[in-house]
Amino acid sequence: MTGNDWPLWEVFVRSRRGLSHSHAGSLHAPDATMALRQARDLYTRRSEGVSIWVVPSSQVTASSPDEKDSFFEPAADKPYRHPTFYEIPEGVRHL
């Protein structure tokens, strides 16, 4: 058996408390238990994380490049949707 026979998993790593999980990459694994362990070895071995999620890639529904214009372009010219008109209080770093 080669790695290509195994399903693909997407790996999300939370780098420290208070932050969200971010997509770190993907890997092949025979099942969820092994995927979690291989994610630990591949993506957190230099102490990058405190928590890991693995998700079967087949379960991810992605937006299509064909829908790029209708999905994302209308947001480009609406600056009033951005919270840029407020003063950000000191000490708030992750806004």
């Binding site: 080669t2 790695g3 195994w6 092949h28 238990t33 092994m34 362990r37 070895d41």
Partner: protein, 233 residues
Amino acid sequence: MNAPIALGDDALVLAQRLGEWAGHAPVLEEDVALANIALDLLGQARVLLSLAGDEDELAYLREEREFRNVQLVEQPNGDFAHTIARQLYFSAYQELMYGELATGPGELAALAAKAVKEVAYHRDHAVQWTLRLGDGTPESHERMQRALDALWRYTGELFQPVEGLPVDLPALRGPWLETVGEVAARATLTLPDGPDRTAWSAGAGRQGVHTEPFGRMLAEMQHLHRSHPGASW
């Protein structure tokens, strides 16, 4: 005999064996996993051998008969099942041994407290693969069973007392059998039973007597250092 040398040689030699998988493991993910385990063990070896002398001199300039590792860790990688069986036997032992060492007195307690967490992961890795190979296809089951049987004779040596080590090693054999036996049962595998279980077991590695493949492994491990004495990065 010096306890740090015995434990350090175990870790060093198994690290070298696991390192042989780099670039050759069945899948890329496993390549990294085995290299990770090897690096954990190499880290343990460096601390332990430094307690006994100069780590490089000890690793690279000793002859075969001066090494004090158990014979289990020097056994060749074989197929993937052999590598996993060797790791299961050894990591289950190391976890119990470091666990005891961490709670006791002595200069090794701090190292053991750190190492026991690394080793728990190594054991888990070996357990996961033992379950999947044992309870997998007919071929993987057969290979895993063959590996457990082939390496069994080297497990007796793990529980021989080590001079200067404040751990009652013979007493760890019971809990070790329980751990390994439970994993084997879940994996639909069997361990040698009846008279075979405690019959004659190989092993005088702690006295410097090693098996044939060890010499070739040492030659590969040491030749660079011996060819270029004193070289550095």
